[in-house]
Amino acid sequence: MDFIIQNILNALQWGSFYALIALGYTLVYGVLRLINFAHGDIFMVGAYIAFFVSGFLLGDTLGLSPLVTFMCAVPLTMVLTACVGVTLERIAYRPLRRKGAHRLYVVITALMCGLILEYSNLAVLGASRLKFPELVEKAVWNIGGVTITNLKVIVIVAAVVVFLFLNFIVTKTKIGMAMRGISYDKFPIPLMGIPIDNIIVFTFVLGSGFAGLAGLLFAMSYPILEPFMGMLIGWKAFIAAVVGGIGDIKGAFVGGFLLGFIEVGVVAMPFLESTYRDLFAFTILLVILWIKPTGLFGMPQSTKI
């Protein structure tokens, strides 16, 4: 029993990262119908920004305590990562949108942006890995044979709070209504006096900001950074978002945790080697899509987000 609860906690933590990244995919897709393949690498950039921000705050000039550093690093990382996301939108996606380019070309541009982020990181910082400093003094609690760290709690709570926050923004606020409007049909939106570019920038701010938060939390949980860390997890989070029904916030959240649970479950299963993890995980996801091609919460060609 302990064994099962322990693995559920493991899956919740791992799924939180998928969910956080999948939310970013879904937001941008929901508004722009654009699969932002650079998103996994924005997550990586977020982790690196968190590294440099906390290095600076902990450093000799300021010398803050780890806890204060954590408090400051969260908003700073989110803001700076959001700037990266918005820059990408400005220099890569907006010109293409202005010229009315086909969606395919925008997706290819996104892929290239991701590769540029990875390889410019490799060129600037080198292949050697970086060690993320410990910001939260780790407490390991043992409750009846089940161990949990305070960091795990922070990660899981953050994923849930981000989901609730985004859900609130999209469904309950005016700006959310505008986002859904663009998603529905973007041509009449400017006629109603809604600044379409501002709304799109806002979407990128939200998506990239939370990718930055995910990067920070990821770097705290798995404190070894390398330039390609965002690639695989980004792809998997994208698949999770598609299985949940891309464009739907609830779908991204559920899809992320679903993938986390399947992955940890397969490895935890006795007599199953870890080599089977991805095979089983993606077979299950394939079956879900086979039964429901629009994903769990997706609806064919209708209002999303």
């Binding site: 791992w14 050697s128 043992n142 997890i233 479950g265 490895v267 080599t275």
Partner: protein
């Protein structure tokens, strides 16, 4: 006018071509000896490539500053060609082919890790080019490959060393293993350890868990291991994964010791793992702390040049170059034809029966594998690798 321009253009092309041809003739090719290096300069283990390259640069400078290598009474300059195999198996074979076919090297040093050395060794053997792997410990690297040699001991030797040491030091009755299933080195060593542990008849290997190279979360595997309650955990993994595994095991409440293998032995382990790795043990090729003689000279020079302690792969690369140089001197002449030269170098290598290097002295068996001692090292409270004991075959 047009015809005139055309002929001028043709003339220029001819001139340029002949210039290339002439320069090809003018350069005395027999004056340099070209050795290729197949190194992981990027990818999962960039530190390993960097350390090896540093050691090689030091060796190259020594030889060339002294006017070159003396072979058969004449001095020849050495030329080293470094190529990046990205820590990938498929890139390592490509690099080996490039070095052989395009660079026309007479011999190859590297790849370091067995994951790359096993496939690249096949390529070198098929193309009849002598190769020495400094750091690879998997038996398959040299098995039935007359052209492939190595400077490190083998896993069938290392596995029992680890098992014996852990049984004695921790008084362990049960053990658990976590390894990288897609890495020849890690997988091979894990299996050899398992069989040698079970052969001791103390108790079982209670958990034998695998993971992939790009994995970052090991909590599911570690939960299974901890539930089985082993006396220690054996982690034959690369240093970057070790740092994550040790931390996650502690987070899941594991208090017991870890035991590692020679892939732990880099200063980067301490940088990435920090205090959580202190107090654990691993088997390796040499211990930098408390070294004497030629080993100490090498360590001091390396520290002065690069500002860090040389890890075992750097020392083994140094020895590999030494073995290669001796093989060339055994052959006793330098051919302008790389194919003939390679054959001679291979015979020179096969003629070496023992070699005194900075990682200890070794004898070579008929497979081209050295028989040498292993060292068990403890990671001290200051993060230094301290000599614990030495085990000889």
């Amino acid at each position: 006018m047009k015809g005139f321009l055309k002929s001028i253009g043709l003339l220029t092309i001819l001139l340029v071509c002949s210039a290339f041809l002439l320069s090809g003739c003018g350069e005395d090719k027999a004056k340099t000896i070209k050795i290729g290096f197949n190194l992981p300069l990027t990818g999962d283990i960039p530190e390993v490539g960097e350390g090896s390259k540093n050691a090689a640069e030091m060796y190259l400078k020594d030889i060339n500053d002294a006017g070159g290598l003396e072979v058969g009474g004449q001095k020849y300059m050495l030329e080293f060609v470094y190529m990046d195999n990205e820590s990938k198996a498929e890139s390592a074979t490509n690099v080996a082919l490039k070095l052989i076919e395009q660079e026309n090297v007479v011999a190859i040093i590297g790849p370091n890790s067995s994951k790359q050395a096993v496939p690249a060794g096949g390529t070198a053997n098929d193309n009849r080019t002598p190769m020495i792997s400094p750091w690879s410990t998997n038996p398959n690297t040299t098995l039935d490959r007359p052209w492939v040699f190595r400077a490190a001991f083998l896993d069938p030797f290392q596995g029992p060393v680890v098992a014996d040491f852990a049984a004695k030091k921790f008084g362990a009755k049960t053990s658990a293993v976590i390894f990288d299933v897609s890495n020849d080195y890690s997988k091979g060593l894990a299996e050899i350890f398992k069989s040698s542990w079970e052969a001791k008849g103390l108790g079982p290997v209670v958990a034998f868990e695998s993971h992939g190279t790009k994995d970052q979360d090991f909590s599911a595997q570690l939960t299974t291991i901890i539930a089985a309650n082993p006396d220690f955990i054996f982690v034959p993994d690369n240093y970057n994964q070790v740092a994550l595994i040790v931390q996650q095991a502690r987070d899941l409440g594991y208090q017991g010791p870890f035991m590692g293998s020679d892939a732990w032995g880099t200063p980067d382990l301490i940088k990435l793992c920090g205090e959580q790795c202190y107090g654990n043990y691993f088997s390796t090729h040499y211990a930098a702390a408390g070294a004497k003689g030629a080993t100490k000279v090498f360590i001091d020079r390396y520290e002065a040049a690069y500002g860090s302690t040389p890890a075992d792969y750097a020392a083994l690369t140094w020895d590999s170059i030494g073995i290669m140089v001796q093989a060339i001197q055994n052959y006793g002449k330098v051919d302008s034809d790389p194919v003939a030269m390679r054959k001679g170098v291979r015979e020179g290598l096969a003629a070496i029966t023992s070699f005194d290097g900075i990682t200890g002295s070794s004898k070579f068996d008929e497979q081209g594998d050295p028989i040498k001692c292993a060292v068990v090292v403890k990671i001290s409270d200051k993060g230094e690798f301290v000599f614990e004991e030495s085990v000889c075959p």
